[in-house]
């Protein structure tokens, strides 16, 4: 058993001729919460998409000791990587409950996460179970996408900017949620722009700039490093 859940080495990705990822390296350990920080447009979302097989990856992606580079996205998902995209991609024609059921890979499969777990954690989802999901508020939709992905019983979950556009008290709810799932032994890769939540929940943080990693350390290391924050994070 490999020590790392996810290990990415020298990852490159392209949109047409534009070379967006230029050799990204990072690791996520078992049960670890790792944040990938950086300004808009540095390639954090593309990193997630390349891991998921939604953008063609060039380089090494090892998950749980096996290569997943070049697999189709449903195969990557079946290996145990869960993905919560930035734009949430709620299935608008489906109800809240159906959206959650879409996360389960098989009917009635025994998963670490059930509808009941989701409803317990977010009672709002249970109240709105039979409502069309596009009628939910932004915060509710964010809870829904995270729970939807958990229904597939991932070993690692990648969450892309979950707090974008959310009110402060909901941001703190998202933070609690991340800690709760890490408690269950699920590894978390959190993509963020908001420093506060990343500093609160992460074991380690990476900072990205221009398609590669420019800083690696603990939240305390980043706290101490004014120059990195000024050059790569503050707007």
């Amino acid at each position: 058993m490999s020590a790392n859940m996810l290990e990415v080495k020298d990852l490159h990705a392209y949109y047409g001729k534009s070379h967006v990822l230029q050799g990204v390296d990072f690791k996520v350990g078992r049960g670890e919460i790792v944040s990938l920080l950086g300004r808009n447009g540095v390639g954090r979302s593309t990193t997630c998409k390349a891991i998921m097989g939604l953008v063609a990856p060039h380089g090494t992606i090892e998950f749980d000791g096996e290569s997943v580079a070049g697999l189709k996205s449903h195969q990557v998902a079946r290996r145990g990587i869960g993905y919560v995209p930035e734009d949430r991609l709620i299935f608008s024609g489906l109800t809240t409950r159906e959206n959650l059921e879409m996360g389960a890979k098989k009917v009635g499969a025994k998963t670490g996460w059930s509808l009941q777990d989701a409803y317990e954690l977010f009672p709002r989802l249970s109240e709105r179970a039979d409502v069309k999901a596009d009628l939910l508020s932004g915060g509710e939709q964010q809870m829904l996408t995270m729970c939807r992905t958990l229904m597939g019983d991932p070993k690692l979950i990648m969450i892309d900017e979950p707090t974008e556009g959310l009110a402060p008290q909901i941001v703190s709810q998202v933070g609690d949620f991340l800690l709760a799932i890490a408690d269950k032994g699920i590894s978390v890769l959190l993509v963020e722009q908001r420093l506060s939540i990343a500093m609160r929940v992460s074991h380690r943080v990476y900072v990205m700039g221009h398609g590669r990693i420019v800083f690696e350390g603990t939240p305390a290391d980043l706290e101490a490093d004014d120059s990195v924050r000024r050059e790569w994070l503050e707007v």
Binding site: K72, G93, T149
Partner: protein
């Protein structure tokens, strides 16, 4: 024959009523046939973003296969086997054609289905010849169901309506009540997310394509003997189905149903209105004699308009409501 005053009085209301009742029935019938084709086409588009130009060609294949199968066995066997066979051909088309050109974008996919139209056309002529084949309504359904105001309503028309409605119910239940249906509905909005949740989207595409072309095949089985089974049938059905799907909103099943019925009724009424106005003109004395020319003009204009109406409706809806009646996306 010059109509008498009493003839006119009799002709006034019952003829109008008869024409309305039969136009509604025939309009519904035509609309449901359109829907059998449009539902598959719109589902395929909604999921894959591919407008399958060859959809009506699969409809034609359904009719020809039913002709051949029923000549060896009977209509009922053909009713089951022909759509299955056409659906199988659809699955092959998706699996070995569309899926391979998918990476080159939608234009390549579109061109592939466009080429397929001509390939299927030539194959049909090669196998079954230029002239219409004798694909007839089965004797067990070849009788008059009822007679209203002296006009008879054939049982086969009722059968088509019945099959179309049953098919609509089946699609509805499949989409709303089953897990496969739920995955298909989800893939209508975000196919890449469905894949990222671990569902084999390419396989679902093949399934939907096979299902859609199978439905087109079923429509061919039902319509081939009601109309005529001949090599031109794909070309005569293709554009109107396209219109229905655009009018209803690309990717929307509810929209396809509404548009099918609207266009079915509108075209049927345009034709019957045409006849009844000609009747009316004849009845008031503008018949065969002096006003021949005026009557002729009215006749030609109205039937032309009837033919043109669906296309005009498509153009107007594209201008004023680009996403169609119920479509989700622009374009």
């Amino acid at each position: 024959m010059r109509p008498t005053l009493s003839h006119f009085a009799v002709a006034g209301s019952p003829v109008m009523l008869e024409s309305i009742v039969f136009s509604v029935l025939n309009g519904l019938l035509y609309g449901m046939l359109l829907f059998m084709l449009a539902s598959g086409l719109t589902l395929i588009f909604g999921m894959m973003g591919v407008l399958n130009f060859a959809h009506a060609s699969f409809y034609m294949l359904g009719a020809y296969c039913a002709y051949t199968i029923s000549s060896y066995t009977n209509f009922w066997v053909a009713l089951i086997l022909a759509p299955l066979f056409v659906g199988f051909l659809g699955a092959l088309t998706e699996r070995f054609g569309l899926r391979n050109v998918h990476k080159h974008g939608h234009v390549a996919e579109l061109l592939l289905t466009f080429g397929l139209v001509y390939v299927i056309d030539e194959l049909v002529v090669l196998i079954w010849g230029q002239i219409p084949v004798n694909y007839a309504i089965p004797p067990s359904l070849d009788f008059t169901l009822f007679t209203l105001f002296g006009t008879s309503f054939p049982a086969y028309r009722a059968f088509i309506l019945f099959v179309a409605i049953a098919m609509f119910g089946a699609i509805y239940l499949l989409l709303v009540r089953t897990r496969v249906g739920m995955i298909i509905r989800a893939a209508l909005s975000h196919p890449e997310m469905v894949g990222a949740l671990g569902h084999d989207v390419p396989r679902i595409f093949t399934l939907v394509f096979a299902f859609g072309t199978g439905l087109a095949g079923l429509a061919g089985v039902m319509a081939g003997n009601y109309y005529i089974t001949e090599p031109g049938m794909a070309f005569s059905m293709g554009p109107i189905v396209f219109v229905v799907v655009v009018f209803g909103g690309l990717g929307s099943l509810g929209g396809a149903l509404a548009a099918s019925l609207i266009i079915g009724l509108v075209t049927t009424f345009a034709v019957s209105l045409n006849y009844s106005i000609a009747d009316l003109l004849a009845a008031v004395g503008l018949g065969l004699d002096g006003a021949n020319i005026a009557g002729g003009l009215a006749h030609i204009d109205l039937s032309r308009i009837g033919q043109m109406l669906p296309y005009l409706m498509m153009v107007l809806i594209l201008i004023f409501r680009p996403r169609g009646l119920m479509g989700a996306r622009e374009s």
